[in-house]
């Protein structure tokens, strides 16, 4: 068999689709997949920022305060692009899926209204916090992070509630083709929402915890082993550790509900072509021409993991009509990548804390620092894979059992062009963000604490400052928060 044949087989979608569907799905995948990373920062970063800032105030620790200050600036950049990429999504709900929004807008909309409320508070308190440095009394200032942290979590819950509703629709009936008896609160309080939220919330802590710890691990690999790197590593790594240990348990509990609610998705996760009792756990492998190839089967384990039983079978794909089956290979691989990375990260944090308990500091080992250095990227890949698994696994349904994705898509032409422009713009944003974040880090290392923006040549700004007009930040001033900073930054 030719490689291209395999690729075509692997990627083939069983259902025949209208022309607008594929670009709409790719567009949604691109913009949501991009936003999800920034959303994780919106959810989990404030808690870490709060912890760091609190340590700084409680212990009068200038290093912790300095880190909180810097993290606040990083958060400002990430939240800004997160806010705009989130706006893109709310437009796309209507631009790409008018069929869904026109029919089910008043069923699924209410959680979004509460999410908007949460986002409002997050944006307001971010503004207050960022510009409150040295302007609000320190004890009140640190409290300004808390509404951000709470609102971020609540907002996540609301968004996930909508996604959970797409997987397990509740709160309406269809009578004679009309959506009726609508109870929008059912969407907000469904049990599916709670478990899916928990999984995503913890994932956000893993993404941010490992990503931030990775930055300081890289610094340590380059020989920067000061107190600040120690703090910058430990706080996020501690958050990530708790999350990484809990996550497999939550994931397992969430997965156990699938057999009953979305058996086709479970069959795709497990690559179960036919019902076997007990079901094996199938690692790797592809479904090609209806047969599974290159998979490693571990007997019994499929039933144990997916059904909490030695005998209960995973329902096979053959029990569903072909038009109701999700794209199997993508779903299966996305799921396995998520689980694999999750287990790897769990084992590495356990190794760290066990070693520490026995008196060894693994941050002295280069192999461990290298592992942490890539852990952020791994956690991001795991989140993306998990999201692909649940979204692609739901296909061909947008509202499971009620509306097919093809019915939700609009018929606007030119979607491929929009997708092209989106890809260019998002690439630009990615490059811009990386350039700016790297230059921030470089300038901080060089001792430039306040990062004044170069709105004009030095001379123009200097002259305006002399008149007291423009606000140019000056370095090396004698704030309590920034004292003793400049020297030790240069290492």
């Amino acid at each position: 068999m030719l490689v291209t044949d395999v690729v075509v087989q692997v990627l083939a979608d069983p259902a025949v689709e209208p022309a607008g569907l594929l670009p709409a799905r790719q567009q949604m995948a691109l913009s949501l997949g991009w936003h999800i990373i920034l959303a994780c920062f919106g959810v989990a970063f404030p808690a870490m920022l709060f912890t760091m800032h609190l340590i700084g105030i409680r212990r009068d620790d200038p290093n912790a305060l300095m880190l909180a200050r810097k993290w606040g600036k990083v958060a400002a950049v990430l939240f800004a692009i997160g806010a705009v990429s989130g706006t893109v999504l709310s437009f796309e709900m209507g631009l790409l899926w008018p069929g869904l929004m026109g029919t089910y807008g008043d069923v699924l909309g209410l959680p979004f209204a509460f999410e908007g409320l949460a986002f409002f508070l997050e944006a307001i308190f971010l503004g207050i916090y960022l510009y409150g440095w040295d302007r609000i009394p320190p004890k009140r200032h640190v409290l300004m992070v808390l509404p951000m942290a709470v609102a971020g979590v609540f907002g996540t819950y609301c968004v996930i509630a909508v996604n959970a509703w797409m997987n397990v629709p509740v709160g309406f009936e269809v009578v004679d083709g009309q959506v009726t008896n609508i109870d929008p609160w059912a969407v907000l309080f469904s049990s599916a929402a709670f478990w899916q939220f928990l999984h995503m919330w913890i994932a956000a802590y893993m993404v941010v915890g490992f990503s931030v710890a990775a930055v300081y691990a890289v610094g340590m690999l380059r020989g920067r082993r000061d107190r600040r790197h120690h703090l910058g590593f430990t706080i996020p790594f501690a958050f990530a550790s708790v999350a990484a240990v809990i996550q497999p348990v939550v994931g397992h509990l969430l997965g156990n509900r699938l057999a009953e609610r979305q058996p086709a998705k479970l069959a795709a996760f497990e690559l179960a072509t036919e019902t076997e009792s007990p079901s094996p756990l199938r690692i790797g492998g592809f479904l090609i021409d209806g047969t599974v190839r290159w998979a490693i089967d571990i007997p019994y384990l499929g039933s144990i993991v997916a059904r909490n039983s030695f005998t209960a079978p995973v329902e096979g794909l053959d029990t569903f009509p072909p038009e109701d089956r999700p794209p199997v290979n993508i779903t299966h691989w996305a799921f396995q990548i998520m689980v694999g990375i999750g287990l790897l990260l769990m084992l590495s944090v356990i190794a760290y804390w066990v070693a520490r308990w026995r008196g060894h500091d693994l941050t002295d080992r280069r192999w461990f620092l290298r592992l942490v250095a890539v852990s952020g990227v791994l956690a991001i890949i795991a989140v993306e894979a998990g999201w692909v698994a649940t979204e692609v696994g739901r296909q061909p349904w947008v509202v499971y059992g009620f509306m097919r994705t093809s019915e939700a898509a609009g018929d606007n032409p030119g979607l491929w062009w929009v997708l092209g422009v989106t890809a260019v713009v998002y690439s630009g944003l990615t490059v811009g963000a990386i350039i700016v974040l790297r230059s921030m880090a470089r300038r901080w290392r060089a001792g430039d604490v306040e990062l004044p923006s170069p709105y004009g040549p030095e001379s123009a700004l200097a002259s305006s400052e002399a008149r007291g007009g423009a606000h140019r930040d000056t370095r090396g001033d004698t704030h309590g928060d920034t004292r003793g900073d400049t020297g030790e930054e240069r290492q």
């Binding site: 709310s90 807008g105 979004f112 509460f114 307001i124 503004g127 923006s453 123009a460 606000h471």
Partner: protein, 335 residues
């Protein structure tokens, strides 16, 4: 008042708030764009950053509020408008994305050339978004969005009412921003910078005011339902808008910038409310009324609860943010 009208009113409060606060932020882009070269424009660009930096993200959320209340409360009309106005909406969205990101990037740019690139994108895209939102408003007000399905992809927003709507949106944003920036410049102890902004603000105000009243003529032919509303039930608002606009011009001329902010807000709020009142009771003019477009009652009640919570939680927080940014403590040099 029916449940649906209450939700529509809440939706419209969001439209007005976005036009005022988001509008002032967008309008800053106009002065940033016309500030001159790197050396000449440095002061003004620093002022723009200082003025909108703490608030732009919060002001931006009004847009999301409007979208969410719309699709939750009036889902079919939302889907129809999004399908019909695909092009202007996607262009407005492009402006929003580029503006927000490049504003944040400029703040932490390391070199002047980086800052100039991000700054140019920020300023340019700040004009794109209000223009296309204006055309969307014109499309709805002139009855070009069907109740269900999809209207004409081009004619719906390339028409006299829409194009005037776009120009008026850009002009009102710039006028608002001019008043705010002048006041901020004076408060931060730089009256010379305010003097540089003053003639431009006056010019923008005069031109925008003239366009608003000139637009009434083509709108009569192009959007008769809206024109009828503007000349009857909304007429007081249009008069108030005109008077407040004139007062603002006088105040800016006499350098009473702090007060001019208030009258400018009043003028813009009145003209936008004039549009809303003028097209009442239509949600999509000549196509579907607010009551007929509404979704399920349970959902409408839910929205009103969410809006009530927002009034309790968001408004005080936002007032605190604005108070901090508009008082002396925040005008001290940033550290």
């Amino acid at each position: 008042m029916t449940l649906a009208v209450a939700v529509a009113a809440a939706l419209f409060v969001g439209v007005v708030a976005y036009a005022l606060f988001g509008g002032a932020d967008f309008g800053s882009g106009f002065y940033d764009l016309t500030a001159g070269g790197a050396a000449r424009g440095a002061e003004l660009r620093t002022l723009v950053d200082h003025s909108i930096g703490p608030v732009w993200e919060a002001n931006h959320v009004w847009l999301i509020y409007v979208l969410v209340v719309w699709w939750t409360g009036f889902p079919e009309s939302f889907a129809a408008a999004m399908s019909t106005l695909f092009l202007p909406l996607i262009l407005a969205l492009l402006g929003i994305v580029l503006r927000g990101a490049s504003f944040a990037f400029r703040k932490y740019a390391a070199t002047l050339s980086q800052a100039r690139l991000f700054g140019a994108i920020f300023a340019g895209s700040s004009l794109i978004a209000p223009f296309f939102f204006g055309t969307v408003a014109g499309a709805i007000a002139s009855g070009r969005v069907p109740a269900t399905g999809r209207g004409d992809r081009i004619d719906s927003w390339v028409n006299p009412t829409s194009l005037f709507g776009g120009v008026i949106a850009v002009g009102t944003c710039a006028f608002l921003a001019g008043c705010f920036l002048c006041a901020d410049a004076v408060r931060s102890g730089n009256p010379r910078l305010a003097d540089r902004l003053r003639p431009r603000t006056l010019a923008v105000g005069i031109v925008t005011g003239a366009v608003v009243f000139a637009a009434l003529v083509p709108i009569r032919r192009d959007a008769p339902t809206l024109a009828d509303g503007l000349e009857t039930q909304a007429a007081p608002l249009i008069v108030i808008s005109g008077l407040a606009g004139l007062a603002t011009l006088v105040l800016v001329y006499r350098r009473r910038f702090a007060l001019a902010r208030v009258t400018a807000l009043a003028a813009v709020a009145a003209v936008i409310s004039g549009w809303g009142v003028g097209q009442y009771p239509w949600l999509l003019v000549d196509e579907v009324t607010i009551d007929d477009a509404a979704g399920a009652d349970a959902t409408l009640q839910g929205i009103l609860i969410a809006v009530g919570l927002a009034a309790v939680l968001v408004v005080p927080a936002m007032a605190y943010l604005f108070r901090l940014t508009q008082t002396e403590a925040w005008s001290r040099p940033e550290h």
